[in-house]
């Protein structure tokens, strides 16, 4: 532990880095003192709500999208053609069109289609379908599934065939092989990519503000519209996203260290 701290200290305590840190601190102090931050208390509560919405949109869409991605990856890596071709087409389409377009297609398209069916309007789900977030969640999940389906395809393929043959010869069933042998090893190999992709997903979440979901980005836009303060909310927002991205990167690095024990690359 002390050697690691020493190494970090050695890296930072170089004259030019100290000077750069001093400059950065000076800019931060100048920004804190001379820019306009008086709006923060007034919008604080809304901002926390927005932050919470960003978090659960990110978490849920990654979880749902990842479950779909396992199916898409399996279908492409070893499924029959009837499954592999549609899975491949889905991934290509999602990866080949902008998320903003997908989001607007789902929100405006489905949103204008659903009310035409009386049975949907009378169903239990209608109160939810009238809000914007289900469409945002659906669109973000599909997008994550499309990108990760491609990653998982490569990961499933990269597990040596001998491992699966050995498992089969031990009398394991298909599902047991997937659960005990194939998926864990594929996950290990996909983990470094998944960390980067999760940060990309985080960076995609502010798009939901364009369909009236109030996430943290939408709160900043509202400050800009209400008070005509342009830079301060955007800069604060950039810092917030950088912190979240840093935390995600750190979590994935810990996961990688935990799960890469015993991996032969």
């Amino acid at each position: 532990m002390t050697t690691r701290l020493n190494r970090i200290a050695e890296e930072i305590l170089v004259p030019h880095r100290l000077a750069m840190i001093a400059v950065a601190l000076a800019i931060a102090v100048w920004a804190a003192l001379s820019m306009r931050w008086h709006w923060i208390p007034r919008y604080g509560e809304l901002a926390l709500l927005g932050l919470w919405r960003t978090f659960w949109l990110l978490g849920l869409s990654c979880a749902i999208g990842f479950v779909m991605a396992i199916g898409l990856g399996l279908a492409q890596a070893s499924g029959p053609r009837v499954l592999a071709v549609p899975a491949r087409a889905f991934c290509t389409t999602i990866r080949g069109t902008p998320l903003l377009l997908q989001l607007w297609l789902i929100y405006f398209g489905l949103g204008s289609l659903f009310p035409q069916f009386p049975w949907i309007r009378e169903s239990e789900l209608w109160p939810y379908l009238r809000e914007a977030w289900p469409y945002a969640l659906l669109s973000l999940s599909l997008s994550f599934a499309g990108y990760e389906g491609e990653v998982m395809r490569g990961a499933f393929r990269s597990v040596p065939a001998g491992q699966l043959e050995a498992a089969r010869s031990m009398g394991m069933g298909r599902f047991a092989i997937l659960r005990r042998i194939w998926l864990p090893q594929a996950l290990q190999r996909a983990l470094p990519t998944l960390g980067g992709e999760t940060v990309l997903q985080l960076k995609a979440t502010p798009l939901v503000a364009t369909i009236t979901v109030i996430d943290i980005y939408a709160v900043a836009s509202r400050v800009r519209q209400d008070l005509f303060i342009i830079y301060e909310p955007l800069l604060l927002l950039a810092v917030i996203y950088m912190v979240i991205a840093g935390v995600i990167a750190l979590v994935f690095r810990l996961l990688e260290r935990r799960y890469s024990r015993g991996v032969v690359v």
Partner: protein
């Protein structure tokens, strides 16, 4: 010829009319938007390549301060959502330019959407291109550059004749990915109100209420661009990998 198709699919005729290139149809607007998107994507990609080349060289051969500053640049751009970067750079860029013009006694100007889009997306692309090119340059064996130096080639000549051609095949997969990101990121300019493909589509869809028709048509246009560029980049890569041992 397609009568049977129209008979089978009742809404098709209306959709075709909506998408027709002549004015009651909105096809012309969509194509104009697609052309604008392509221009911005190409400009931003080119600018990203220029920034990326200098960034990569700076990261590899620059002094300690230069390297740290470049590290800050690539880290910040890759951690902050493109949308926020676009807004910050768009507002800050127009503000600074107009202040500079005012200081020189000129009248403030309205910046053209295409130029602003290219500049903003170019800065974003530059950060990713820096990383792609740095990796590619680094994987050119040291012996090759040393041999070039031993023959008396200068730094520029070594880069142009030895490092650049050797790293290109290694950089191409990353660059092709960057080009796809550039075409898709142009959609974000719709939020700043620049009428590229996505915004044209939304306006057409909003005016006619035919959301599915227009969004699906625009999606098809983006997909055509993506698939075609995939082919072209694959062809370029195959060309530059000639003479390489099969892997």
């Amino acid at each position: 010829m397609f009568d049977w198709l129209f008979a089978l699919w009742p809404g098709l005729e209306a959709s075709v009319n909506l998408l027709s290139l002549q004015p009651p149809g909105w096809g012309g607007n969509l194509l104009r938007g697609a052309w604008a998107s392509l221009q911005i994507a190409a400009g931003a990609f080119g600018m990203g390549l220029v920034i990326g080349t200098f960034g990569a060289l700076g990261k590899l051969h620059g002094g300690p301060v230069m390297r740290d500053l470049l590290a800050v640049y690539t880290t910040v751009v890759r951690a902050v959502p493109e949308l926020i970067l676009i807004l910050i750079l768009y507002y800050a860029g127009t503000d600074l330019l107009n202040q500079a013009l005012r200081a020189m006694g000129q009248r403030p100007v309205e910046i053209s959407g295409v130029a602003a889009g290219i500049a903003v997306l170019g800065v974003v692309q530059g950060a990713y291109a820096t990383e792609v090119l740095r990796g590619a340059i680094q994987s050119v064996p040291r012996g090759q550059t040393e041999a070039a130096r031993a023959f008396g080639m200068g730094a520029v000549l070594t880069f142009r004749r030895v490092v650049f051609p050797a790293m290109l095949p290694l950089a191409l997969p990353g660059l092709s990915n960057l080009w796809l990101i550039a075409t898709k990121d142009t959609a974000l300019l719709a939020i700043v109100g620049f009428s590229e493909l996505t915004l044209e589509t939304r306006q057409a869809a909003g005016a006619t209420r035919a959301y599915f028709t227009f969004f699906l048509a625009a999606g098809a246009l983006y997909l055509v661009v993506t698939l075609l560029s995939g082919r072209i980049f694959g062809w370029i890569e195959a060309r530059y990998r000639r003479g390489e041992a099969a892997r």
